[in-house]
């Protein structure tokens, strides 16, 4: 596999405020890449720069080995699926999908039969058969999503950029479309760059996950590595599954606001010292239970718990007032009933914690 898209030190500022502050990334050919980042981190800006709707202030964009900064959007061969779909409201489903083939400046398809055939194949691929002549104002959100995707895919782009493509859909449909997007991509064999603000979506979909933080790529790796080894406390925070303490390492302990935490596992250099423990690595014990030698123990009072399917998330307040979250998988044990405001011991293995120095 080779890199289809390379970004080298890409910069973009709006009225002096940087939105992209030196993005470096390489996207592999024929892969599903998700781009995760909090709101305002520059995800849309990055996609718009790649598609050519915005000019970067500096840096290089190489697409299939060729520099494309400066090439107008319609000559780049990169498809863009908009967050709000941006369908042509006056055209039918089939006309929307045929638009690119008939109207592109480079090599338009003039043979009506060829257009119809390709549109029909694409409608079959995305599962819209039967809706060809429907107005796009009279179809559901999920169907609009498919039209937007089909309209882009039919032009056979070498890469597709999707800006929060599932953001406008309800939770049920979102899960179903995830699987479909992956299947469709595999059948087309092009690289998808999927922007999302949801960590579960990013982890579930991406062969590679890029994490964007304040205009920079904070980490680029596969989902498994990202989940278990975030590169910094900020990345860990976006993943929404770590309790994070700030503080400082002194010798073999981490000085945190809730006390001294003994260190055991690996330490990662990240610039800002922090201590992170995953929600599902923590055990809840009665207050009088003792901790083993390789364990770390803190105390907290129980607030509430919340079921989420196969797991239950319990919330505690620490002595400094911060919330600490614990995830217990119900396959391991029957849910325990905790007493509100009562104090419990929260215990985890030393080597399970991530330590950033």
């Amino acid at each position: 596999m080779s890199a289809v898209l390379q970004l080298k030190n890409v910069h973009k500022a709006f009225a002096g405020v940087p939105a992209l502050a030196g993005v470096d990334a390489a996207l592999m050919d024929n892969s599903y890449v998700s781009l995760l980042g909090p709101s305002g981190s520059g995800k849309t800006t990055l996609l718009r720069v790649i598609a050519g709707f915005e000019q970067p202030d500096g840096g290089e964009i190489l697409f299939a080995g060729r520099r494309i900064d400066g090439v107008p959007p319609h000559e780049r061969g990169i498809g863009f699926v908009f967050q709000n779909f941006a369908l042509f409201p006056h055209l039918s489903v089939a006309q929307n999908i045929a638009f690119g083939l008939e109207n592109r400046a480079v090599a338009p398809v003039t043979d009506a039969k060829a257009v119809t055939a390709r549109v029909r194949d694409m409608i079959g691929l995305v599962g819209l058969t039967g809706l060809e002549d429907r107005a796009v104002t009279q179809i559901s959100g999920g169907q609009k999503q498919r039209v937007a995707l089909a309209r882009t895919l039919v032009t056979e782009p070498s890469m597709v950029l999707l800006d929060e493509p599932l953001g406008a859909l309800d939770a049920n449909l979102r899960t179903r479309m995830r699987g479909e997007l992956r299947t469709i991509r595999e059948r087309c064999g092009v690289t998808f760059l999927h922007v999302t603000g949801s960590e579960t979506e990013a982890l579930a979909m991406g062969d590679t996950v890029l994490v964007l933080d304040r205009g920079r790529i904070a980490q680029a790796t596969d989902a498994g590595t990202l989940y278990s080894r975030p590169a910094s406390a900020d990345v860990a925070r976006f993943l929404n599954c770590y309790n994070i303490f700030s503080g400082a390492v002194s010798g073999n302990v981490f000085e945190s606001p809730v006390g001294r935490l003994a260190l055991g596992g690996v330490r990662q250099a990240s610039g800002r010292p922090a201590y992170a423990i995953r929600y599902d690595r923590v055990a809840i014990r009665p207050r009088d239970a003792a901790a083993a030698g390789d364990e770390v123990r803190i105390e907290a009072s129980f607030v509430a718990s919340e079921y989420s399917g196969a797991a239950i998330n319990s919330f505690f307040t620490l002595d400094d007032g911060r919330v600490f979250e614990v995830e217990t998988h119900l396959s391991h044990a029957a849910p325990e009933a905790f007493e509100e405001k009562a104090r419990y011991a929260l215990v985890w293995k030393r080597e399970d914690a991530l330590v950033f120095v």
Binding site: E75, A86, F99
Partner: protein, 301 residues
């Protein structure tokens, strides 16, 4: 469309009297408007149609029904000429307001990204209305006249040797004047429709590979058509009923149906005036109906 369907269905589906009473009562809100329209619009128009069949003598008019006024109207070169002039000038002004107005609307509605600025520009279009009609007409005379500014400049530059006389007191000056006055009624609705186009729709078309002209022809123009139709209706209704501009700028050389009505009323020929009025009303109705056929406004707005 969906809204219309549901409001039709409601009384059928919900037989409960409590839900039915509500819409019945709300109809009363329409009563003053309907009454006003009946009294001061529908009744007078019906009256006009009736009067057009009355018997007209030199000094008085009698309610004896006759076709005489209608026959006189359709066998007179003057009246038929005025009808033809009205249609001709209407068509030319319609085209010229569209040619001048569409690009301006395109700029204001689509290319000015800042909403405040585009509103300010639209207000700018209305500024001519802050001066009175009379003053504008007065100002055109030294501009368009035989010794006016345009002729002087053209002669200085050696483009013409003799002053162009058709600039003032001609059909041309009437067309120039009307285009200037009514252009803003074309710009407004078109700019409104263009402003409603989602910018990402145009970006999507760009991304799919279409050039600017393609996008204009396939996306922008069709989506702005309702604005063009509404603008065309405004301009048509106003131009067809015009009499002041032609009276002031043509030196009585250009007679529109409106001018005929003014003179007939002036000489107390009520029946003739009514015939011209009925013809004009039918013409306007036909024009509006034809324009509405171009676009299904109900669907688009």
């Amino acid at each position: 469309m969906t809204m219309a369907a549901t409001s039709h269905d409601t009384p059928v589906e919900t037989a409960a009297p409590s839900t039915r009473r509500q819409p019945d009562r709300t109809y009363w809100l329409l009563a003053p408007g309907v009454l006003w329209m009946l009294l001061f619009l529908v009744a007078p128009i019906l009256m006009m149609v009736y009067v057009s069949f009355w018997t007209q003598t030199t000094f008085k008019i009698e309610p004896t029904l006759t076709l005489k006024s209608w026959i006189t109207f359709f066998s007179s070169d003057t009246y038929l000429g005025a009808l033809w002039t009205t249609v001709r000038i209407w068509l030319i002004v319609l085209v010229s307001t569209l040619l001048v107005g569409y690009p301006a609307a395109l700029f204001v509605g689509l290319f000015v990204k800042n909403k405040t600025l585009s509103t300010a520009l639209l207000v700018l279009c209305v500024i001519p209305f802050w001066t009175s009609f009379l003053i504008r007409v007065l100002a055109w005379r030294p501009m368009l006249g035989k010794e006016g500014a345009i002729n002087m400049i053209l002669m200085k530059l050696g483009i013409v040797t003799q002053p162009i006389e058709v600039l003032l007191f001609s059909e041309l000056s009437v067309i120039i004047g009307m285009t200037q006055i009514y252009c803003v009624f074309m710009v407004g609705p078109i700019a409104f429709m263009l402003g409603r186009i989602d910018p990402s729709v145009i970006e999507a078309a760009q991304d799919l590979g279409a050039s600017f002209w393609r996008i204009f022809r396939t996306i922008i123009l069709p989506l702005s058509m309702p604005g063009v139709v509404v603008g065309a209706i405004f301009v048509s209704v106003m131009v067809l009923g015009e009499f002041a501009t032609s009276a002031a700028l043509s030196g009585r050389k250009v007679n529109l149906l409106g001018n005929i009505i003014v003179t007939q009323v002036g000489s107390l020929k009520w029946a003739f005036a009514a015939v011209a009025g009925v013809v004009l009303t039918i013409l306007m109705g036909a024009v509006v109906a034809a324009l509405l056929r171009v676009v299904d406004l109900r669907k688009e707005l």
